[in-house]
Symmetry: C2
Subunit: 349 residues, 2 copies
Amino acid sequence: MESNTPLGRKVTVRDIAAACGVSRATVSLVLRDSPLVNKDTRARVEEELRRQGYVYNRAAANLRRRTSSSIALVINELANPFFAEFAAGVDDVVGEAGMVTLLGSSSESPQREQAVLGSLIEHGPGGIILSPAEGSDARQVLAAVGARTPLLVFNRELSGEQPEYAHWDSLALDNQQGAREATAHLIAQGHRRIAFFGGHGDSSSCRQRRAGYREAMKAVGFPMAPHWEVECLPTRLDAARCAEALFEADPAPTAAVCYNDAVALGLMHGLAERGLAPGQDFALTGFDDIAEAALATPSLTTLAAAPRARGRQAAQMLLQRLRDPDAEARRIVAPVKLVIRASSCPPLA
Amino acid sequence: MESNTPLGRKVTVRDIAAACGVSRATVSLVLRDSPLVNKDTRARVEEELRRQGYVYNRAAANLRRRTSSSIALVINELANPFFAEFAAGVDDVVGEAGMVTLLGSSSESPQREQAVLGSLIEHGPGGIILSPAEGSDARQVLAAVGARTPLLVFNRELSGEQPEYAHWDSLALDNQQGAREATAHLIAQGHRRIAFFGGHGDSSSCRQRRAGYREAMKAVGFPMAPHWEVECLPTRLDAARCAEALFEADPAPTAAVCYNDAVALGLMHGLAERGLAPGQDFALTGFDDIAEAALATPSLTTLAAAPRARGRQAAQMLLQRLRDPDAEARRIVAPVKLVIRASSCPPLA
DNA sequence: CTGAAAGCGCTTACAG
DNA sequence: CTGAAAGCGCTTACAG
């Protein structure tokens, strides 16, 4: 690893070729593990590569070969553990494929998302995985990334999506099925007055989860009261603040399907402040199965979205697309799994 | 944005130059906002760039200019919210500087870290931010990245670090000061028998926090019992399991400084299982100020490391280094801030 | 203010 | 099996 080369200049194939008395082409063939090159020549070149501390310049190779060795990953909110896990899963698979992840974060702003996509696309990623900011628009995204680079949309739909974007793959969670199962579970535990708590009607995931909730309630013919659908920001703090809205009118619900775990944990907090013991006096379910769902008191029945596995899956889908650009678009809706932890929703007394 | 170009070929400066009847050099000058070019010519070229949907090829430009427009970020555990926040902070600043983040995750494995560094370095990042895997070795890292690319070490020390790595910048948290303040706070609340709970002696952050704890105890002359220093994995689950170790011998502590918030939350769980009400029967402090510290019951007094701010700071330090490669290395130890939430450590009755 | 030429570090046919 | 030549898409002196 020691280098005789002055720090000012990078070692290139030319240096190696000169030192070995071969052509640059030969060095290139060695680098690319070509079987064409003589065993002894290869050994000599490899020794010299090591000796001079040669570092392959993949950008130059990509330019010449017109290939890419990167995948762009644009996340709406990287600080959110769900998306952080997702990103980790993507990066696992991208790394295994010998490629590198170009990271971008939009902070839930479609404007930032535009800027980030514009910047990343100039680096020539082979494909893009986009977890859209809320309100992100399909036309804007197309304008930013062009039609040449395969794109996979994760988790949310883009607004205004038209048939001309049908070539984009997508991977989403089956929000509706999940919320349906959670609601059915609470019903099976004996609840009739069940609320849907948290989230925002603007978001497609919230709309889908609500639809699943309503579907399950309708399936058994239970009525729903308007004040049982409470909107709040998808944060603990706001959920805690909004808890009382559930009890403002009669009849009050005895259970709630929550938009996600953060909201459910916040609701627990809000219930406790009203003197209600979550789990005992009021049953609830979450969505996501974040780490603390299992460790909260009471532990939380929730829907596992397996974000790391989804990240791996998204990356695999995109790599598949790079191999076969003309295959029909795949729109996968991954099922979520109900994780029953009795303490947050025991049988109704 | 509509493109007349067949999908098979990318639009290049050559296409734009031909369409406008100017040379490629002129197009290049327009792209780089040079004041040299005539106003009308510029307008014509810009219109044509838009018309053909030109996308700048930054890799080609970087090759020619021998510059870089990326920063590599290698994280030991991206799924950990602390590091996810850190990564988000890094990416904010990198993006603001018009650069792009190359992401890598080592999953706490020095071997994976080596592989990831080796892969990222081939993409020619301008600099590297490394949050080392536990046990990562300075010589190995140097072998993987070479001496040419500036590196900033975050959060942990590399093992076997020698004077020859003194050119690496570093940003760490003042673990010792933080633990000292937490311990002093518990002492001020009236505790004398204070434990240090959780973490692993292999990790430098754990050793530093323990040192701060001991220092504070010694400063007031309080004795420490060996069974008050309990090791466990830095996870809730293991912390809950290890809680009883605190009570195996007499005298039992009345409070604990915990290695981090996850461990503190786990300890709360373990205390509750033993019939002790955390906060009332046993005081404790955390470290990190993760989101649920404020919302746990009882809410947790802890030390705020502000990971997002640290990410921004790390990126700024590295960008500064790129501007001034020969400046002396900076080794910054960022203070952490005690966030007092009385409910986890009220005055001792 | 604009153009012709050379070159960043690599790879790919094509000869030999 | 190896080498000479051309070229990926851009930028930079250097002329004019």
